[in-house]
Symmetry: C2
């Protein structure tokens, strides 16, 4: 099914509200990087918090601006794997479904799970069409350098997502080759999922290629938050999709190590927030979240693309919504307001929400 074949998508109104006097085109400064006695750098970001009907609960900056959701929308991209029946047919575990949403660290548990999963489907690492890169996890990468080992495609942070794409293709009898191409049924199916979940027609919007080779599709930031809200509160979705949404978020929250890994913000925060939040980072300063208890979706984008700032903004949004309560905040202090240290280990500053952060 191509986008052109789709019926016109249901389009909830997602509009921004702007504080009086603010310039809708200027994203507010939400993060400051402090060194000694002065703020040294500042990050601007746009944030949308939306419910499953498209009501805007919170908006800062121009939430109608189109963004590429990058890896932050991987929970949405995992829907076909579950709703098609592929996950059940191949007996996928909670860990594997969680890994389908991951930008993982390439640690041993991540890569071993990918290889075992591919074997269940009758495929190998050679069927993955993402490139290879060294694991994000530094100790793992250093050990590999020390042993003269080269990375495989299983180490690519997206290998779980790609395993999910391949599994769905096998289940539906589609060719596995070229599954990363825009024209392939796997990607056209995802385009339909994104249209239905975001409420946008996406056949003619700007697009590009992601770090792992799949298409990226421009969707307004507020509508990306809407799509996440519909994962969090799937009551308005068709039954199969609704069940898949719940299963995917549950898997992320039950096994958050698989979503990212050691010393990663997604994993650390999900460990601390239990069943309240499924959050997912993306490249270029995007972060998404689905909050099942509140029935809300979050999308934020740092104007300059900095991941260090996206984490601080997501932490602040979760505090604002009391998903991170005072007890969790104490536990998470090192990641919510990280201390900067120099090469000798001396503390030199901090990254924190901006002094005049409006929420």
């Amino acid at each position: 099914m191509t986008a052109a074949d789709k019926p016109a998508a249901d389009k909830p109104t997602v509009r921004a509200h702007f504080p009086q006097g603010s310039d809708r085109n200027i994203a507010p400064i939400l993060v400051e990087v402090v060194r000694g006695q002065m703020v040294e750098s500042r990050h601007r970001a746009t944030v949308a918090i939306v419910d499953a009907e498209g009501h805007v609960v919170g908006a800062w900056g121009d939430i109608e601006q189109p963004i590429y959701g990058r890896s932050a929308i991987k929970p949405l991209l995992a829907l076909p794997l579950v709703e098609s029946g592929a996950a059940d047919r191949f007996g996928l575990t909670t860990a594997e479904i969680s890994l389908a949403t991951a930008s993982h660290n390439g640690e041993k548990r991540h890569t071993e799970t990918v290889l075992a999963w591919l074997a269940k489907v009758g495929l190998t690492v050679d069927d993955l069409e993402c490139g290879a890169h060294m694991p994000y996890d530094e100790p793992t990468a250093q050990a590999m350098w020390a042993h003269g080992e080269r990375p495989t495609r299983a180490h690519n942070n997206c290998s779980g997502k790609h395993s999910g794409f391949l599994t769905t293709a096998v289940h539906l009898g589609e060719p596995t080759k070229n599954y990363i191409q825009y024209e392939h049924p796997v990607q056209q199916r995802l385009l339909g999922v994104l249209e239905q979940m975001s409420g946008c027609e996406l056949g003619a919007v700007p697009r590009g290629i992601d770090g792992c080779g799949i298409p990226v599709i421009a969707i307004p930031l507020g509508n990306t938050a809407l799509a996440m809200a519909r994962l969090a509160d799937p009551s308005g979705l068709p039954e199969k999709r609704a069940k898949a949404a719940g299963r995917i978020l549950d898997a992320m929250m039950e096994d958050p190590f698989m979503v990212a890994g050691s010393d990663r913000f997604c994993t650390t925060v999900m460990h601390a927030t239990g069943k309240k939040a499924a959050i997912k980072v993306g490249a270029e300063g995007v972060y998404c979240g689905a909050l099942p208890e509140l029935g809300l979706g979050i999308c934020l984008k740092v104007e300059d693309g900095a991941g260090r700032a996206a984490e601080i903004v997501m932490g602040q949004v979760l505090k604002h919504l009391k998903v991170i309560d005072e007890a969790a905040e104490m536990k998470l202090r090192d990641v919510l307001t990280p201390t900067l240290k120099n090469w000798a280990g001396t503390p030199t500053g901090q990254i924190r929400p901006a002094a005049d952060c409006p929420f």
Copy 2:
């Protein structure tokens, strides 16, 4: 000599001119990161181009904002090494003086030069008070991992600057221990140099600690450009300082590999611009330049601290001033507008000057 002992510094007026209707507090968007058919991220920056009398030749954003010059002002921090006579006493070469201004890659030639230099002064790598970190140069770092080698302080990108500090202290009979502390004569001498060159009193301004342990001092961006202009056109400086300024810039432009290294913007651009420009990058999106033929100084700071953007802005400033002419621009295309590729090597986008960059 402490800052308080200094006579009131000569203060040229460095004021910004703002296009009508612009908001002086908002740095303009000067860089865009494109993916496929859409701009994905944007960087704002403030830029000052100033002559040695403090006349503003170009200004975009609030150039009176205080910044930490970080490593971008290392050419200024090398002045005492030369003007004190220390460089001549120990027979320092052009390569060593260039290395005193460096944020180097930790390649073999960098570290070997540091070790030989320290030996000339009767010191060792243990006298360096910067921390150790793996070389910036990836092949060098990978080879070290493969051989189980740990980095020494000589690999620290600032080890040349620190060798210069130690050499000056030895020459002047000062203790070498604690030379990175604010109260040490080495740092107080540098404070005086920065006051004289920038035209600012700096005894009571915000300060912090740099990545390599030395103090960082807040100086208005425009005055930082002024200090660089006085390196470029030292005709108004005392004779010893004027000679030192010329010798430092010459060393950088004659041996630009020492300033940075393989595949680094500073080195690549200086190779292409000959005797026209000495440029130096700093952390958190700062870049400075001294243009001897034009008698101008440049300082720029990316609001969000991104180094990828600081390079693009510096390239654009040098094109604006015709320091990079059309022939050089052709040669430098890969670093002025770098292509982004994904893990598989497929081109996915570009970093480039913003479509509405005002210069």
